[in-house]
């Protein structure tokens, strides 16, 4: 990808707080219209990286180019083109959902009507006249995203939008995020949910301790891992010994409820099982980004 078409270019940025190297030489580019995820556990440096890219902090060294401009120091020309949702749900006191949007919209010179339309996009039209503190966690999060989008920016930065949400609210939010992508926006978002990033993102950067450990499409990262696929069946359909004799099976082991086969060639294994009619309770689990993280850091992923 050429840099002229890139929405975000980050070159070797570093930021230390005393002894702590919060960001220790991070580089990446994000193409226009791309959904880019920055993943990692808490304290990995995701938020600081995002803040430097948004122009809220000055890096100790390195360079950021946003839509061809430098975001630091505060670049008023650039501000209308970027939308930022902050980690804390930051709202004005005692205003309703609609009033919040109109007030944030006013900061960008957006008309009150346009601002109110954003409620539709995030599915809060029926909550327009609720005060912000009466909304549920998921609703506030969606409102906060609507506030970031109110001025129709080209790039949207979302910092852990799905943190602390229940599974249903998370899924609702995914729909919102996909809808934003369909509008052609470039999205840069941080999360500590690896499964979510795998579903939503075009490309991900996995961060730990201030560094980018891997950067690519989720599927490519997982494939590159050369990790076995796990096929799980109901117990009793097949003995572990028979199973390990099947073509392609590396290893088979049995516990009280199921039989699990490890394979690097799932196709012949699955067709052999199908021939035997032994597909009851079938589950196929391929490697995930969590396995990638484990492989990169040598430790279990803990959000």
């Amino acid at each position: 990808m050429t840099e002229e078409r890139s929405a975000v270019v980050v070159r070797d940025i570093r930021k230390s707080y005393g002894e702590l190297k919060a960001v220790d030489g991070v580089s990446f580019t994000v193409a226009e219209g791309e959904f880019f995820g920055i993943l990692g556990p808490n304290g990995a440096g995701k938020t600081t990286t995002l803040e430097i890219v948004e122009g809220l902090r000055e890096p100790d060294s390195g360079e950021v180019v946003l839509l061809g401009e430098s975001p630091w120091p505060r670049n008023v020309k650039l501000l209308p083109r970027i939308g930022v949702q902050l980690q804390a749900t930051s709202f004005f006191d005692k205003l309703t959902a609609k009033e919040q949007l109109q007030t944030f919209g006013a900061l960008y010179g957006v008309s009150a009507g346009t601002a109110a339309d954003m409620l539709e996009l995030v599915g809060l039209a029926d909550k327009a006249n609720e005060q912000e503190n009466k909304l549920s966690g998921g609703q506030r999060q969606r409102l906060s995203i609507a506030c970031a989008l109110v001025h129709d920016p080209d790039i949207v930065f979302l910092d852990e939008p799905t943190a602390a949400l229940d599974p249903q609210a998370r899924r609702n939010l995914w729909d919102v995020l996909r809808a934003i992508k369909e509008r052609g926006k470039t999205i840069v978002y941080t999360t500590h949910y690896l499964d979510e990033a795998e579903i939503l993102c075009d490309r991900v950067a996995i961060m730990d301790k201030g560094r980018v450990l891997a950067l690519d499409r989720p599927a490519v990262l997982v494939r590159g891992l050369d990790a076995p696929t796990h096929v799980t069946l109901q117990k009793g359909l097949l003995s572990a010994v028979d199973a390990s004799a099947l073509d392609g099976v590396d290893e088979a082991h049995e516990d009280e409820v199921s039989l699990t086969l490890s394979t690097r060639r799932p196709a012949p294994v699955l067709s052999a099982l199908a021939e035997r009619g032994a597909l009851d309770g079938l589950q196929v689990r391929t490697a995930t980004l969590e396995d990638v993280f484990l492989d990169l850091t040598g430790r279990e992923y803990r959000a």
Binding site: V76, L79, D93, K94, A106
Partner: protein, 347 residues
């Protein structure tokens, strides 16, 4: 312009919908006004009351003069007991030509006043009895002095204090809460000048100050309190606005240091409360000791208060605004500059 207007409306809504803020802005100062207004309503009018046994020409003369009030007793012992119990400062006992005054030792000032008054009347009666023309003549006449009825100094004082409290708390708490909730960040990330944001918040505070002025003066003007405005009372409006800006700046300074709303609230109280007491919110400061008057000159609230007194109840004109306005503008500039130096966008 639309951004400015929308922001002002948003902040006004936030203000009006916050019941605690409304209470401390309007009801709390009003409570002081009402309580002190009622308590002190009769102050300055009370005459000394003493016990009286018997009657005579001296007593009639005293009654006519209105210098003293009397509570009559038939029994001398009962009257003296009243003095012993500390209920009355003195007892006047008249038996024909003999006039005795028994006074309480503890309350020397009042006793001396009573002794002096009674003595004067007895002397005059004696002189009149001799039929001689007096060698020296003595006349006394009333003069309107600067001493005000309580409601007349309470209203300007409590108004200035109320405006100071709401401006300091309004700006300090808004700043801290916006910093904590990262609203400041959002503003920094929007293409809007900090001046627009700041001035829309000041506009709300100024509007609140004007409503406070109308409310407090309105209540104090009720017959039960009896405030009488005099002179160019409308000059209180520029004073209210300048005061709002000065104390808003003070709140910004407090808010720059405080990390939490609670800390901001405590710090604002520490700044405002002593200033209110030393600046004559609840009592006329010109009755205070000289050193305290000197100290109070250091506070902007004292000058705002002086200006309010002058234009609301002392009947003075625009010339009375010169010093308070200069002090408030100077204070706003210095404190505003300091606040902008120590201002922090983030925690």
């Amino acid at each position: 312009m639309t951004a400015f207007k929308t922001l002002s409306v948003a902040m006004l809504k936030g203000f009006v919908r916050d019941k605690a803020t409304l209470f401390f802005t309007f009801l709390f100062p009003l409570m002081f006004l009402i309580i002190f207004g009622l308590l002190l309503r009769d102050a300055g009018e009370d005459r000394t009351k003493i016990a009286l046994v018997g009657d005579g020409s001296v007593v009639s003369a005293l009654r006519e003069s209105g210098a003293l009030e009397f509570e009559s007793y038939d029994d001398e012992n009962a009257a003296v007991r009243k003095v012993q119990d500390g209920d009355l400062p003195a007892a006047l006992i008249v038996r024909g030509q003999r006039i005795d005054l028994r006074f309480a030792q503890s309350d020397q000032v009042r006793s001396a006043t009573v002794v002096g008054i009674v003595n004067g009347f007895v002397d005059r009666a004696n002189l009149a009895a001799t039929g001689q023309p007096p060698t020296f003549t003595f006349t006394a006449e009333k003069v309107e002095d600067a001493t005000l009825k309580p409601i007349q100094y309470l209203t300007p004082g409590i108004l200035s204090w109320g405006v100071a409290v709401s401006a300091v708390f309004g700006s300090a708490l808004t700043l801290v809460s916006w910093r904590r909730k990262q609203v400041l960040r959002r503003i920094r990330l929007a293409p809007i000048s900090t001046t627009s944001v700041l001035s829309s918040r000041i506009l709300v505070s100024a509007g609140v100050a004007l409503v406070q002025g109308v409310t407090f003066i309105g209540v104090a003007s009720l017959p039960v309190f009896g405030l009488r405005l005099s002179g160019a009372w409308w000059l209180a409006i520029p004073l209210l606005l300048l005061g709002t800006i000065a104390f808003f700046a003070l709140g910004m300074l407090v808010g720059a240091f405080a990390k939490t709303e609670e800390a901001a609230s405590a710090a604002a109280n520490i700044v405002v409360l002593p200033m209110a007491f030393l600046s004559g919110t609840f009592f006329p400061v010109d009755q205070a000791p000289a050193w305290l008057q000197a100290v109070s000159k250091a506070f902007p609230l004292r000058h705002m208060n002086d200006g309010m007194l002058d234009v609301l109840v002392r009947g003075k004109g625009i010339e009375a605004l010169a010093v308070p306005a200069a002090v408030l503008v100077g204070f706003s500039l210095v404190v505003g500059f300091l606040a902008s130096r120590v201002f922090k966008w983030e925690e």
